[in-house]
């Protein structure tokens, strides 16, 4: 634990991620308005434009569109702030789900030899299909929406987790202390949980972190291409999708969410790097 706190990548990455999570959580309190509110009068305004808003109490106050507005007059700043919620939530959900499913399958594949070949063939097949295409294919199968997108991103990630877990299981299986546990009569399920599973925790935390980052990117790509989350719920990806056509004249549509996205994923990747350097003994020696 202490070692984690000493690694600069971990600290900076975790701090930024925490910051963004808080931003998403406290979105309504951060000077935003309804991100879906359409306002034809204020379409495509440059950042800094002001306007009057009627508050709940009937009073009129000044509101500044800090990031400008999009082609439907929606406030980009509010959309970006609310977008943090969905984008980060998707990242976490995908990571958690991929790890959970991948861990289970990986343990089975590593320990039950006759299932191993069969499972790994399917995993190889899944991995042969490039991730984006697979995700796109899955999305095309159903209505667009949060669940569909999450599942679409999880499916290509599962084989990668399975591969990692299986490799760990196979190597731990050869360790003398596992053989010793067999000779003292420890049954296989207990063996897996007690001796094998703990060795998967650190690598899975690292991989899960990277999966979170990549999930956010993939969601952004899907939304950008128009096959992700529908625009009523803002995500950084679909905000950018909106801004495509008028990019030359109104680049702010793309740059603000783009920068946030890059920032978030960068922080997550830094966190992952730092975690890997501290948690995974194999990488500890490498600078």
């Amino acid at each position: 634990m202490r070692m984690l706190a000493r690694n600069p990548s971990v600290v900076i990455g975790a701090a930024i991620v925490a910051f963004l999570a808080l931003v998403g959580l406290f979105a309504p309190l951060l000077g935003t308005i309804d991100p879906s509110e359409i306002n034809p009068v204020y379409r495509n305004k440059k950042p800094g434009v002001e306007r009057m808003i009627r508050g709940d109490d009937g009073k009129e106050t000044v509101f500044v569109h800090r990031f400008g507005t999009d082609s439907l007059g929606r406030d980009i700043y509010s959309r970006v702030v609310y977008g943090a919620r969905v984008s980060l939530a998707i990242g976490v959900m995908v990571a958690a789900l991929s790890v959970a499913v991948g861990l289970t399958i990986g343990l089975i594949a590593g320990y039950i030899r006759w299932l191993d070949g069969f499972i790994m063939r399917i995993m190889d097949g899944l991995m042969a299909i490039p991730a984006i295409l697979l995700a796109m294919g899955v999305v095309s199968l159903s209505r667009a929406g949060l669940v569909a997108v999450v599942i679409a991103i999880v499916i290509p990630d599962i084989p990668r987790v399975v591969r990692l877990v299986r490799a760990i299981v196979l190597s731990i299986r050869e360790e003398p202390y596992v053989e010793a546990a067999i000779t003292v009569g420890t049954p296989t399920p207990t063996l897996l949980v007690r001796h094998v599973l703990p060795n998967t925790v650190a690598p899975l935390i690292v991989q899960g972190t990277f999966l979170c980052g990549s999930a956010i990117l993939i969601e952004a790509i899907l939304s950008f291409l128009g096959i992700g989350i529908p625009p009523e719920t803002p995500t950084w990806g679909n905000i950018m999708a909106e801004g495509r056509s008028l990019f030359r004249i109104y680049p702010h549509n793309i740059f603000y969410p783009g920068v946030c996205l890059a920032f978030a994923v960068l922080a997550i990747n830094m966190l992952g790097d730092g975690l890997r350097d501290t948690l995974d003994p194999r990488f500890a020696k490498r600078v």
Binding site: E179, A180, A181, I182, T183, V184, G185, T186, T188, P198
Partner: protein, 544 residues
């Protein structure tokens, strides 16, 4: 001694360890010398600093270590003050080094010829055909078969012994004045080791090379050394001729070390008449690979028709080199792998082909102590948890199991309070004791000891062997002792079986087999044992 020119002269050498290490210096105040034409063996246990000394001479110290004091004179030139370019000039031409693991020390993607030729490329202006001639010449000098063919072959295609010869060839091709050998035979089989030692002696005599030979094996010292330097914890403890050190050691430490080396002469032991605990019949294990599409298979007979009998109170040894099948037999008996055919009777029951569920109740009768003390305990669990795991599996209440664990810790010479600690807090020898305690916790009839002391220092080795012997007597255990070390086998085993390529070639009471080996392989094995002609060493375990 007079008249020999000094090739290497180390005076007051001190190498510092980085801050935060358990001692300030890796080596301190080392003074030793190597003359032309003499072999100086540096002996010590792990952590003695012998390798650091060798690396310092070559200028190959790892980044964290710095030579802070002293002088290293190579043919009169101070190596510590040489520039990196000068050091590079000296390496390969005036001083050369060979290492312990020939497989990893050779570049896997370069041909053998190229690796030797590289030395010539760096330091000479020879043309390519000339280089080739020199390479072939040196390959013949190290007695490599078919040099014309091997020159274009890769390291993984030849054996360990041959690889070490290649290393020696590359080291000696430019006739350096000093050869540093860092445990060059430790990773080799006994018979291969004997050949390499012979080769080193031969080349060294012919060319007048001074050799600094690092080793931990006193047998090797007895075989090749002219002079000996004994190191402990970074300091030189004693120095002298081979005779002086082996016969008349002055310091307590040297005396203790030599006393810990088991003698090659087995004591007379009364035959054991206890109940038969283990009897294997025609035990065989075959590994075959068959390609699905192309049909051809490669069959490896790891063990063939092995018959071993061990009685209670008796220690039976299986002796062999790598690939002999001794580990395979041990793993079959422990049912870590299933034999292809044959019977394994533990008491009355044949456990050879029992399915796991029916096998489990019988597992308590056979326990095993593994070779590597650093990997046989789960690093994430306390040693107490590791010891009680077995008894709890078989229904013993947790409290009772802990009591048993405490009793056993005392028995193996460790404090019961240490049960709450983790494996990394113990030394290698202590971990082996814990492994023994874990095995005993199951109250087995048969204890398999698979090279239990091979990874331990010689002084610790003696203690663990003593412990195993005590335990055998106290619990009337049958012990199946696997080892490649003839000395250990001589002192510890009542009977031995010698295995070669999966087959038992000879077996009988230890005394008889050692005195009059019948099979030619057994004879070759004993011939190869280093230092067998030197009279030193002690009886380690009692012959009761």
């Amino acid at each position: 001694m007079a008249g020999i020119t000094s090739v290497l002269d180390i005076t007051n050498l001190t190498v510092d360890l980085p801050r935060g290490s358990d001692r300030p210096h890796a080596i301190e105040d080392i003074t030793l010398s190597v003359g032309a034409g003499e072999i100086v063996c540096v002996v010590g246990e792990s952590g003695s600093g012998k390798s650091v000394t060798a690396q310092a001479v070559m200028g190959l110290l790892p980044r964290e270590l710095t030579a802070s004091k002293g002088r290293i004179l190579l043919e009169g030139e101070n190596v510590l003050e040489a520039t990196p370019a000068r050091l590079r000039d000296l390496r390969g031409t005036r001083m050369a080094m060979i290492f312990q693991e020939p497989m990893t020390a050779l570049n896997p993607v370069m041909t053998l010829g190229d690796q030797i030729a590289e030395v010539l490329e760096i330091h000479t202006e020879l043309s390519e055909p000339d280089r080739r001639q020199r390479v072939l010449q040196i390959m013949r000098a190290v007695h490599l078969p078919e040099p014309e063919r091997l020159i274009d072959v890769y390291p993984h295609q030849i054996s360990g012994g041959q690889r070490q010869r290649i290393m020696i060839a590359a080291a000696l091709v430019l006739d350096p004045a000093l050869l540093i050998a860092d445990e060059p035979t430790t990773a080799l089989d006994v018979t291969t080791q004997a050949q390499i030692l012979k080769l080193v002696r031969e080349l060294q005599e012919r060319r007048g090379t001074g050799v600094l030979f690092i080793t931990h094996d006193f047998g090797v010292v007895a075989e090749v050394a002219h002079r000996v330097v004994v190191m402990q914890s970074g300091r030189v403890v004693e120095m002298g001729t081979r005779e002086d050190i082996l016969r008349r050691p002055q310091s307590d430490y040297t005396r203790m070390l030599i006393a810990s080396v088991p003698s090659l002469v087995p004591p007379k032991r009364a035959p054991k008449t206890g109940q038969v605990a283990l009897a294997t019949e025609k035990l065989s294990k075959t590994y075959g690979t068959k390609s699905l599409i192309f049909g051809r298979g490669r069959v490896v007979r790891a063990a063939e028709n092995v018959e071993i009998v061990v009685r209670r109170g008796e220690t039976v040894g299986i002796v062999g080199e790598s690939g002999s099948g001794k580990s395979t037999v041990a793993r079959c008996v422990a049912r870590l792998i299933e034999p292809t055919s044959g019977a394994i009777r533990i008491g009355e029951v044949d456990v050879a082909h029992l399915p796991e569920r029916r096998l489990r109740p019988h597992r308590r009768n056979v326990q095993i102590v593994f070779q590597d003390p650093y990997r046989s305990l789960n690093p994430r669990r306390t040693v107490g948890a590791s010891i009680v795991e077995g008894p709890v599996n078989f229904g013993l209440a947790a409290g009772e199991a802990m009591n048993r664990a405490r009793r056993l810790m005392t028995l193996v010479g460790l404090s019961p309070d240490a049960l709450g600690r983790y494996p990394h807090q113990f030394s290698g020898g202590q971990r082996q004791r814990i492994a023994i305690a874990r095995a005993l916790a199951m109250e087995p009839q048969l204890l398999i000891a698979d090279e239990p002391v091979s990874a331990l220092d010689v002084s610790v080795q003696a203690q663990v062997l003593q412990l195993i012997d005590d335990v055998r007597r106290r619990f009337d255990l049958a012990i199946l002792f696997i080892t490649h070390d003839l000395r250990v086998a001589a002192q510890v085993c009542d009977r031995i079986a010698v295995m070669q390529r999966g087959v038992v070639v000879e077996e009988g009471p230890t005394v008889d087999v050692f005195a009059a080996p019948k099979h030619e392989y057994t004879r070759a094995l004993f011939e190869a044992a280093p230092g067998r002609n030197a009279m030193f060493g002690a009886a380690v375990a009692g012959a009761a």
